[in-house]
């Protein structure tokens, strides 16, 4: 899709201005219902689009992403624009600088049309935890788009942007991509700089693209990846254009299918059927399917729900009403109340952080507190090492690991909000890639019928560390069969 748009631009069949205006027209028509966007930057976007059009007219060479309108999750900073992270605490915040990924996309003349909705601070699987609005699934407005990058996924699915960026801490790119029938790629930990991403759980977070096609995901990844002095976890990797390595023969590919992924009780039968069909397709294309076992996979979600809240509790300590964000202290001038410093912390956090955020901050605070650290955090980091070891062993035998992205198709709005634990189970297949830092992609693999609605299903592939090339190629080859 991006290449087609690019060709139309350089052949002057259309202009970036026209393209941008068309997306804004689509947003005006559809977004009052879908609610994917939290803020729009029409003038800013059109200015950029016109500048690209001028370059084309002058015969300058432009990048594939130049003039292509994109949407950015609202926890990624674009200078001078809002970055609410879906939280009231950052309602009036304006980002003072560009995230590294934004800086890179700006260098390629990308056009940013708006900031998309998310669960508050990316904590959730449905966007229902957003302090502003719940995004609807474009395939069925009574259902969630998934989360936390639900706004980014819905915007791509409903053609309200060409592609989007989100972040993935435990599945926040892949699960909404699966629910909305689009492609979501979480790169290897260390592939993409998180500088300028509002941190959730630093040992798990990755910025990632949501796109219409696998090729588009490859195009975007190639342009946002790389070592960055502002994120010391980024690794020096071979810079390549991943889009140039798609379509390679997969007949020597070995794909592992973990038996544990199908033994789980929560897996919907119709979803399972779609995944089994995908396995057959790979077999027909010549790939070798290998039965594997990942016994510790069962511990992944419990490991995640210790490590993630622990890191959350530390990262969110900065929202204390002192340096940025909403503060009861600032209001005291109007109300006349006099607060002590400690009161400003306690009351600002109480008033402006949402329920799920508080729950996770408290859970993490407990797990890290004196007397419990060894029992929870240290134990979880050991189990994490154990899971990693199993994956290393599995990747001695196979090139990729295949399974469902989510145990079900998109669920109904309100269906899981009563029980936090129930909501957490939606992440069961996606958290492992974050726990061990692997690259993973969700690709549409057909759809199922539920209550007269057609709902998309996502296939998840996980690859070896920093081997995005094999992962993207296998996803691409599969996509061509759909």
């Amino acid at each position: 899709m991006i290449k087609d748009l690019h060709n139309k631009l350089i052949n002057q069949e259309t202009t970036s201005e026209k393209l941008t205006e068309d997306y804004f027209a689509a947003i005006e028509e559809k977004d009052p219902e879908i609610k994917a966007y939290l803020s729009l930057n029409k003038e800013f976007a059109l200015d950029k689009a016109r500048a690209v059009d001028k370059k084309i007219k002058n015969g300058e060479e432009i990048d594939l992403l130049a003039g292509i309108p994109s949407a950015i999750k609202d926890n990624i900073c674009i200078e001078n624009l809002p970055a609410t992270a879906g939280s009231k605490v950052l309602e009036n915040y304006r980002a003072p600088y560009d995230a590294t990924v934004i800086k890179k996309l700006k260098e390629n003349d990308s056009v940013f049309i708006g900031k998309t909705n998310l669960d508050e601070f990316a904590m959730g699987s449905s966007t229902e935890n957003s302090a502003y609005q719940t995004t609807k699934n474009p395939h069925d407005l009574s259902r969630v788009p998934g989360g936390s990058s639900g706004g980014s996924a819905a915007a791509v699915a409903a053609d309200m942007c060409a592609y989007s960026l989100g972040s993935d801490t435990g599945g926040s790119i892949r699960q909404p991509a699966a629910f909305c029938g689009v492609v979501g790629l979480k790169p290897t930990y260390g592939m993409v700089s998180r500088y300028g991403l509002i941190a959730m759980a630093s040992s798990l977070d990755q910025i990632s693209p949501i796109t219409k096609t696998v090729e588009d995901a490859a195009i975007v990844l190639s342009r946002i990846a790389g070592k960055d002095r502002f994120d010391s976890t980024t690794m020096k990797t071979v810079e390549k254009k991943y889009e140039d390595f798609l379509g390679a023969d997969i007949s020597s590919l070995k794909i592992g299918v973990p038996k544990e992924y199908f033994a789980a009780g929560g897996l919907d039968q119709n979803v399972e059927q779609k995944i089994r069909e995908a396995i057959s397709k790979y077999e027909k294309m010549g790939a070798k399917i290998v039965d594997i076992s990942l016994p510790s996979a069962d511990f992944a979600l419990a490991t995640y729900y210790i490590i993630m809240p622990s890191e959350v509790s530390s990262n969110l300590a900065r929202f204390d009403g002192i340096r940025f964000g909403q503060s009861v202290g600032a209001e005291s001038e109007k109300t006349g109340e006099d607060f002590t410093l400690q009161n400003i912390y306690f009351k600002s956090r109480a008033k402006y952080l949402g329920k799920e955020v508080k729950r996770r901050v408290m859970l993490g605070t407990y797990a890290l507190s004196a007397g419990y650290y060894d029992q929870y955090y240290l134990k979880a980091q050991k189990v994490r090492a154990l899971i990693k070891k199993e994956f290393e062993e599995a990747f001695q035998k196979v090139d990729l690991i295949l399974g469902p992205t989510s145990p079900t198709a998109a669920f109904k709005i309100g269906e899981k909000t009563a029980s936090p634990l129930e909501m957490y189970l939606a992440d069961i297949y996606t958290v492992t890639a974050n726990i061990v830092g692997l690259p993973a992609i969700s690709v549409p693999c057909g759809s199922i019928e539920e209550e007269g609605k057609t709902l998309p299903v996502g296939l998840q592939l996980m690859g070896k560390w920093f081997d995005e090339e094999t992962l993207l190629n296998a996803a691409y080859v599969f996509e061509q069969t759909i």
């Binding site: 200078e79 511990f299 729900y305 340096r323 964000g325």
Partner: protein, 107 residues
Amino acid sequence: MLSKDQVQKIASLARIEITDEEAEKYSKELSDILGFVEKLNEADTDGIEPIAPARLATRSVAGRHITGAKNVVREDKIVEYSEETKNNIIKNFPEKKDRFDKVKTVF
């Protein structure tokens, strides 16, 4: 099961004011989640070294960071930001006096 008092203590460590009713609700929800993560005790981690952050993963415990990164260092060099960026940071202060972030007295 976490008691309401324990929840209040955790909330206090986390610098979040919570009401008695909230403490009751959180006591149930947090206990549910802690019950779920009890599962970790079934994992045999004898002799397993934990995953560590890159800054702690020195050569002696190489590979303990999730991607194998170790001893990440960089030149200790000041990078100057533009006046505009500095002003943008200052604009975000909840309370300010001139170019200073205004904070209540600590003592």
